[in-house]
Symmetry: C2
Subunit: 330 residues, 2 copies
Amino acid sequence: MGKFKIERPVYFHSWASVVGRLEREGPLGEAFDEWDATDRFGAETWEKAEGELCHRVLGLAMEKGGIGPEEVSAVFGGDLQNQCVATAHGVLPYGIPFAGLYGACSTCTEGLLLAALTLAAVSGFPRVAAVTTSHNCAAERQFRTPLEYGGQRAPTAQWTATAGGAFVLGRVGRIRISAGMVGRMIDGGIRDAGNMGAAMAPAAADSLLRWFADGEAVSSYDAIVTGDLGREGSRHLAELLEERGLSLEGRHRDCGCLLYDENTQDAHAGASGCGCSASVLAAHFLPALQRGEMKRLLFLSTGALMSPSSVQQGENIFGVAPIIQLQIQG
Amino acid sequence: MGKFKIERPVYFHSWASVVGRLEREGPLGEAFDEWDATDRFGAETWEKAEGELCHRVLGLAMEKGGIGPEEVSAVFGGDLQNQCVATAHGVLPYGIPFAGLYGACSTCTEGLLLAALTLAAVSGFPRVAAVTTSHNCAAERQFRTPLEYGGQRAPTAQWTATAGGAFVLGRVGRIRISAGMVGRMIDGGIRDAGNMGAAMAPAAADSLLRWFADGEAVSSYDAIVTGDLGREGSRHLAELLEERGLSLEGRHRDCGCLLYDENTQDAHAGASGCGCSASVLAAHFLPALQRGEMKRLLFLSTGALMSPSSVQQGENIFGVAPIIQLQIQG
């Protein structure tokens, strides 16, 4: 059903997370490596601010790993801005060979999966990186309305995180990417750009049903982590899986539900944006694996494929959810 | 310098090209598999027309290879539309696991490179596909001005091709992808969205200089094929390489110069768009390799990384040019 082992050893070498103010004020706030209280990262536009965020988080992942850009053979990355310009601007100064991705909010897992496959296929590469960001103000202006418009948000709406995560993969380490799956696009019939959770849940369900189709036990994972279904999408995922007889046995975690406090932060159905799962993986789940509190994790960022034009032209929003399996070695 | 061998055998299983009217009327017109004289492909908007083009060309590549979508393990693809929605809409009905890419006009080579690496890394996958499209009317509306505006084009401007190419890679065949390289982004200081050739040439030069840095002979290739530098960018590439002492010895071909007739078709500096190199590879170069007229080819689609916002905000346009090496076996 599309699940594959990554036969050669591929490990996380180092990683970093950088966030904005709201993310820093949330329940995981202390865990992020850096933050900017102005969300501007020293730049004069929101679009450029995201480029700076990308630049900073990728640089920090390399710094924390004690390596320079010349020791990274390629970087996979993407963001939500049209033509992924934030990533292009963030990566350019490092001169690392670059492959741009567009997987909407699934980009973090897509990038890690392709980085792992590249490392598995190319013996001569010592390390490959993946980086993903999103910025609330750039995303709102592009996909919905500029902040100045003051548009009312629906209760199902999620808050695009101002956040980024970067990861360097290498051939030695403790946390291994040992298996993966490319996601299928699923059309759940959703046309409401204010309800991304509902658009993405059917893809997460499809990927999980394919993953567990070989009889692997849900209980063999400490957690099954989705990217940014939020509260609405997480409920929908549970219903879809229940209909098909798959229970996640209390192991489901969603980065979109973890990033903000439901009661004190006004983020409605939770966080979204491709920086959400990237920053939560880097700040929360990888450290938990590193400390040995978790041993085996399934990680699937969830993306909603649409553009403002496609929504205006009445097209459905498709979901996609690639998977990577992380586990502690030894 | 970043060049790597693809050690496991990866071959072209089948391929297809589909184009619009202007491309059909050009010098390669007879070589394309299908064309639509209206450029609409039965759809009601230009954006949806490109989605149909993608759907048709991917379907045709599978048909020509005698396989169905269930026999393709994953597809890599992208286009120029915001959030790559044309590819998403074209691929969705096949249900093939999908990884979205954004490499601007370099997407064809990026997709083939990642498809080849995936096939090399995942023993259980029989076949992986890559698909790329562009549509003149969708691209003009998005990046520059809608056609109805009747904007005047500069002599350096290129014509975004209405074209697509799809490729199925497998483990047996005659034309092998035997080596590759991920491209570095190069900032040549260009800010004019009407001169893509100048923005991309420095990246093509960088990739070729890195490729030939190990002393490999230019004469070992029958052709060194760039994606869509056009006449302006091709001249610029020759100058940049000459400065660094590398001559392509009359072997340089550019898909952007091949697609339209310089004298009878009003395409200014040539063709561009990620469908340009994809359709010319499928209709012209792969058949030449198949017929044995060529034995060894270097193929590098060239991309210009920018968005309308980044250009409006005064940012430079970066080039990128990944490479694949194609050769006849036996």
